[in-house]
């Protein structure tokens, strides 16, 4: 329950007197405050700085250190104050949490120091209020990434049991791990450079015979270049095969970009070997040699910057796409305009619209070769407009790409673009937790029979505990429901008595509805009765606790059995109780009992194939409406109830 509302609880309870004349049933006894004392100031001495607050303020959150009896460990008898040897600055936010109900994260604090203080005082960080939660999460993520980076850097230490294959792979990925890897790295780099230079020099005209025109070096020293090429390709092939062998997942390796580049780099050579020196295919052969230039991309393994550039272009795909699209639009528009403008002039180079494309592109990128120039006045006007607009259109997306590159370069590819969705999801989950916390806490304490009318005043609730109750469970239960909680539950219980209906958990309501509707099928009862045995035995402990309130509240005697049965099923059908409410330490006793019931509960629900409420359970498809059973009139007609639920 929120801190602020705690102040109004006495008012709400007093106002409950308004229900009394209307109620037909006796009200439950109120929980008494045994240790009632006037609200006193307590002094909290945190490393010398004294904070003072009312005891009631701290009692608002009974499952934290300060709100529970755990603080007694820190009580200093001589000075009559509680002494904590912790950071007083952070304690300020923690104490404000008790006062206002909102936990704030001060920006100047170190995130790990703050986390430690929260852990010490028993406060979960998820309840940080919205104003500070984003900041907290961001800092926390940054911190974790930094730690992860440190961990990664320490990965160089050799793990003891690495196979030869793994060692090789690690050598390939991180060249500075061993000397061999470093040598290999430099050798391949050298050969890539050699190969690229060879390709370039091959085409340079080198020296001419007196009687022949200049021929490129490649044709003059064919054997030399061929040997060089072969050597490079050998090295590359060996390297590729070794990588393929060492890769942990060969399929993934073969699909990766680097391996494709490798393959493209060496394939032309082999194709060239295979193909005969046929005149027809020599043209294709020449084209294939172009692909040798892709060897230069092999350098990206050696250069981080190159990889980042590639990644940037990939991540800026949308901006690039926009640039391309807008350029295309502009080109088409201006080419058309120029074509029609220049149509009239004689000996115009603008022979067709596609021919004008060249002019438009050259003008828009402000190249201005001058091979095509407009001659008419209209053409010149439109030409100038074209060049001005070109500057604008190209200038717009480029800064975006540049800033992207800079960002990625600085973050070194750590940006997480999905962050926003996760935070939003988590926030909704938190709000749901805090909203359902109070209602589920009440229902949990109900299930444990804490709201029995006569036994509330007993301090240890011994009589109500099942046979498995031990002393520590007693204390856990006692601790779980603070006075505030028990008063709130008493208030809700009074409302139940006034209206003669009980609060039920949402899922139990639907399951209970299913179970009670199930009673309407006499044909299904054999299967049901066969399950009774199972459910009866495993939940026998539960029924002892819960038949009492049922018998107290049932109003129709002839459906008492059915209701009891349905209650049995409700109890057995319950799933693992929500562990989200912070003051639900009493759940420990639930878990041991529910383990047996879980399977049988699920089995019973699996049999059902009747009209289900379409709200959130996707169970069996709806059947035809159940036959009306004259023996059970007080049970709600499932047909109408289904309508009612789905309408909400």
């Amino acid at each position: 329950m929120a801190a602020g509302v705690a102040a109004w609880l006495p008012f709400a309870r007093a106002a409950a007197i308004g229900w009394m004349p209307v109620a037909n049933l006796p009200m439950p006894v109120a929980p008494t405050n045994k240790t009632k004392h006037q609200d006193e100031l307590i002094i909290l001495n945190v490393s010398g700085r004294r904070f003072q607050t009312w005891r009631n303020t701290l009692d608002r959150y009974p499952d934290t250190l300060l709100g529970s009896s755990e603080k007694e460990f820190f009580f200093n008898e001589e000075t009559r104050e509680y002494f904590f040897d912790r950071d007083p600055d952070v304690f300020r936010s923690i104490l404000n949490f008790y006062r206002t109900g909102k936990l704030h994260y001060p920006r100047y604090e170190c995130i790990s120091a703050y986390d430690e203080e929260l852990a010490f005082f028993g406060i979960i960080p998820e309840i940080i209020s919205d104003c500070c939660y984003e900041e907290y999460k961001d800092r926390k993520r940054e911190n974790m990434e930094r730690l992860m980076d440190d961990l990664e850097d320490n990965k160089d230490s050799k793990l003891p049991n690495m196979t030869f294959r793994e060692t090789m792979w690690r050598a390939f990925e991180n060249p500075h791990t061993s000397t061999m890897a470093l040598v290999f790295y430099y050798v391949t780099g050298f050969f890539i450079a050699i190969s690229v230079i060879t390709n370039v020099v091959e085409t340079v005209p080198c020296g001419s015979m007196p009687n022949q025109r200049d021929i490129p070096c490649g044709e003059r020293y064919t054997e030399a270049f061929f040997c060089m090429d072969t050597a490079c390709v050998m090295i590359f092939t060996v390297e590729y095969l070794m990588r393929l062998f060492a890769a942990p997942s060969r399929y993934r390796f073969m699909r990766s970009v680097m391996s494709i580049i490798d393959v493209v780099a060496i394939l032309p050579y082999y194709i060239g070997l295979v193909m005969t020196n046929n005149e027809d295919v020599s043209g294709a052969f020449v084209t294939l040699r172009v692909f040798r230039v892709f060897r230069i991309f092999k350098f990206s393994r050696h250069s981080q910057g190159l990889r980042i550039l590639g990644y940037t272009l990939k991540s800026c795909a949308s901006e690039l796409g926009f640039l391309l699209f807008s350029l295309t639009m502009a080109i088409i528009i201006f080419a058309t305009v120029m074509f029609y403008a220049e149509k009239g002039s004689s000996s115009s180079k603008f022979t067709s619209i596609p021919a004008s494309f060249w002019y438009t592109i050259v003008t828009m990128t402000t190249l201005g070769y001058g091979d095509m120039v407009p001659k008419t006045i209209a053409g010149k006007i439109f030409g100038s407009i074209c060049s001005l607009s070109g500057v604008l259109v190209i200038a717009l997306p480029v800064p975006v790409i540049v800033s992207n590159f800079s960002r990625i370069y600085h973050q070194n590819q750590r940006a997480d673009k999905r962050r926003a969705q996760k935070v939003q999801k988590a926030r909704l989950a938190r709000m749901r937790i805090s909203k359902s916390g109070s209602s589920t806490a009440c229902l949990h304490s109900k299930r444990n029979g804490l709201n029995q009318s006569l036994e509330l005043t007993l301090p240890y609730y011994k009589m109500k505990l099942s046979p498995q109750g031990s002393l520590e469970e007693d204390q856990q239960m006692k601790k779980a429901t603070s006075l505030l909680e028990s008063q709130h539950h008493h208030l809700l219980h009074c409302l139940e008595k006034t209206t003669n209906h009980e609060f039920v958990d949402e899922r139990l309501y639907e399951q209970g509805y299913l179970q009670t509707a199930l009673q309407n099928f006499p044909s299904r009862s054999p299967s049901l009765s066969s399950e009774e045995g199972i459910t009866g035995t495993c939940c026998s402990r539960r029924t002892k606790k819960n038949t009492q309130p049922l018998s107290a509240t049932h109003t129709h005697s002839h459906t008492h059995n059915l209701q009891e049965l349905s209650a049995l099923h409700i109890q057995c059908g319950e799933q693992q109780p929500l562990n989200t409410s912070r003051s639900s330490l009493n759940l420990m006793s639930d878990e041991s009992g529910s383990l047996n019931c879980k399977s049988s509960g699920l089995v019973t629900t699996a049999i059902i194939s009747i009209p289900t409420p379409p709200s959130n359970n996707s169970r069996a498809s709806p059947d035809a409406p159940p036959p009306p059973n004259p023996d059970a009139p007080p049970l709600p007609n499932p047909g109408t109830d289904v309508v009612k639920i789905s309408a909400l």
């Binding site: 602020g4 109004w8 006495p10 007197i17 206002t100 109900g101 709130h488 609060f503 709600p636």
Partner: protein, 237 residues
């Protein structure tokens, strides 16, 4: 100047006319804050966000005289009240919000509306600390007759001295609304009506279709359950 908003609620912003009427209500209280609040409001531009108006309660002695609380109890009550509403006034929306926090499963707004009217004795749309504490005094420290009178006042929506079936039905529906959907057994459509019928059968002695205050008090005094439940919340504060 805007007051910092507390966690739960936004305290009311009164229009200028309400400001003036508020001034009239507590002639004895010192009003140092109101003049500066007035100076910041601009009657010509209603879109301007008006400054928060503050209300200071009467002194402790006067409240002690009017209610049956001790000094310490009043102090503790005021601290809680002021913590939630620094401006010193609770309007209906805020009240509904606060009251709904206690009943997360159902819809407590209608009942909160009736409750608000029962507490807001001078019908000015906001509860001051004095109203709050006087109401609480009746509920917690009053005699059984006074409590019954308060309950009658709650049920009598138009405060004409008679509880009609329609009024009772409205109250009953609002109580059942607080239970919400997930109840066992499910709340049927005519549950409220049935309950009202039972109530009238019990209370309406002369069968004239309305319940007067005397019939009400008389019947309640003869009912054991009601009498014992009236004593239930003695030790709330």
């Amino acid at each position: 100047m805007l007051y910092p908003f507390p966690s739960l609620l936004s305290c009311p912003v009164l229009s200028e006319t309400q400001l003036i009427s508020v001034t009239h209500l507590f002639p004895g209280a010192p009003l140092p804050s109101l003049p500066h609040a007035l100076s910041l409001t601009d009657s010509t531009d209603s879109d301007l966000e008006l400054a928060m108006v503050r209300h200071q309660p009467e002194g402790l002695e006067q409240l002690q005289a009017q209610t049956k609380f001790t000094r310490k109890e009043l102090q503790s009550l005021y601290r809680g009240f002021k913590n939630e509403c620094p401006s010193g006034l609770v309007d209906e929306e805020t009240f509904k919000l606060i009251y709904s926090q206690f009943f997360p499963q159902g819809d407590a707004t209608t009942y909160a509306h009736f409750l608000f009217n029962a507490f807001d004795m001078d019908r000015n749309g906001s509860i001051r600390f004095e109203d709050f504490v006087i109401g609480l005094s009746v509920l917690l420290r009053g005699s059984v007759t006074e409590k019954l009178r308060w309950a009658f006042n709650l049920y009598d929506i138009n405060k004409d001295g008679y509880i009609t079936k329609e009024e009772m039905l409205a109250i009953m529906k609002s109580i059942y609304d607080m239970m919400g959907r997930y109840t066992f057994p499910s709340v049927k459509d005519d549950a409220a009506l049935e309950h009202v019928e039972k109530f009238f059968q019990k209370m309406d002695r002369n069968r004239d279709g309305v319940v007067t205050i005397d019939e009400f008090i008389e019947t309640c005094q003869t009912d054991e359950n009601i009498m014992s439940s009236m004593q239930l919340f003695e030790n709330v504060i």
